[in-house]
């Protein structure tokens, strides 16, 4: 299915701004016609992706990170990306994660989204790519 629209936000790697990512996700999700529970899933998952990225980012990398909302008729693909850094296996494998909280975050993302990938790009950073499909295509309050 063709992509219809794309929205991007770029936010500081600080705890206090994660709520803006959640808010935007919720607004995009509602425009696309996801139901309330699905919108909540998307909000929760995007927050966990932001937390993961903020917490695995080296202190000296204080560039903003980006969230891309790619809107299709039947699905939403959200990409949370940092232009620097790489994920280590440590950081993305639930089974051998030492950090309890990160493990919880990954469990949550996996359970709430239909598809999740952690991707490292040589020299140009890393991203968490999550897909949520619309099971029944409904009319949102817009789009």
């Amino acid at each position: 299915m063709d992509k219809k629209d794309s929205l991007k936000i770029s936010i500081p790697k600080k705890a206090e701004y994660v709520s803006i990512a959640r808010l935007t996700a919720s607004s995009v999700g509602s425009k696309m016609g996801f139901n309330i529970e699905e919108i909540d899933d998307i909000k929760v998952a995007i927050a966990e992706a932001c937390i993961n990225l903020i917490q695995t980012s080296p202190k000296e990398n204080n560039d903003n990170y980006e969230i891309e909302f790619n809107i299709y008729k039947d699905k939403l693909i959200i990409i949370v990306k940092d232009k620097k850094g790489t994920f280590t296996n440590e950081e993305i494998q639930k089974d051998d994660l030492k950090n309890q909280e990160s493990k919880l975050g990954l469990f949550i993302i996996d359970a709430l989204m239909d598809d999740v990938e952690f991707i490292n790009y040589k020299d140009i950073g890393r991203e968490i790519r999550m897909t949520k499909r619309i099971e029944v295509v409904r009319d949102g309050d817009a789009v």
Binding site: A15, E16, V18, S19, D40, V44, A47, E48, C50, I51, I54, Q100, E101, S102, L104, G105, F107, I108, A111, L112
Partner: protein, 105 residues
């Protein structure tokens, strides 16, 4: 949205009750952690988390609960989670924490 915390001692139940109002997220959970840790340190009672006005919790907030549980178990006391909303129940189910905590809906 921010987080407000109410805490009081309940004599009948011999337990401290903490009531988080709002959102326990990456921004507010450090404060939640401090409050919970202090209560556990200073008392020898169970702690009830009254979640009737907890709208949202993320993995950092769940982490605070787990770390509190570890500390309180050293004193042979427990954390009881009460009145949780369906969206938060769902997160406890997903993470398996429903089996670790005493959860009353």
């Amino acid at each position: 949205m921010a987080l407000k915390l109410e805490k009081k001692y309940n004599k009948d139940k011999n337990a401290w009750i903490i009531k988080p109002i709002g959102e326990v997220d990456i921004y507010t959970s450090p404060n939640f952690k401090k409050e919970l840790t202090d209560i556990i340190k200073e008392n020898e009672t169970d702690v009830i988390i009254d979640c009737s006005q907890l709208e949202y919790i993320d993995s950092t907030g769940l982490g605070v609960l787990i770390s509190g549980l570890k500390k309180i178990k050293e004193k042979d006391k427990n954390i009881i989670i009460e009145h949780i909303k369906p969206n938060i129940k769902k997160l406890l189910d997903i993470t398996g924490l429903n089996k670790v905590f005493i959860v009353k809906e």
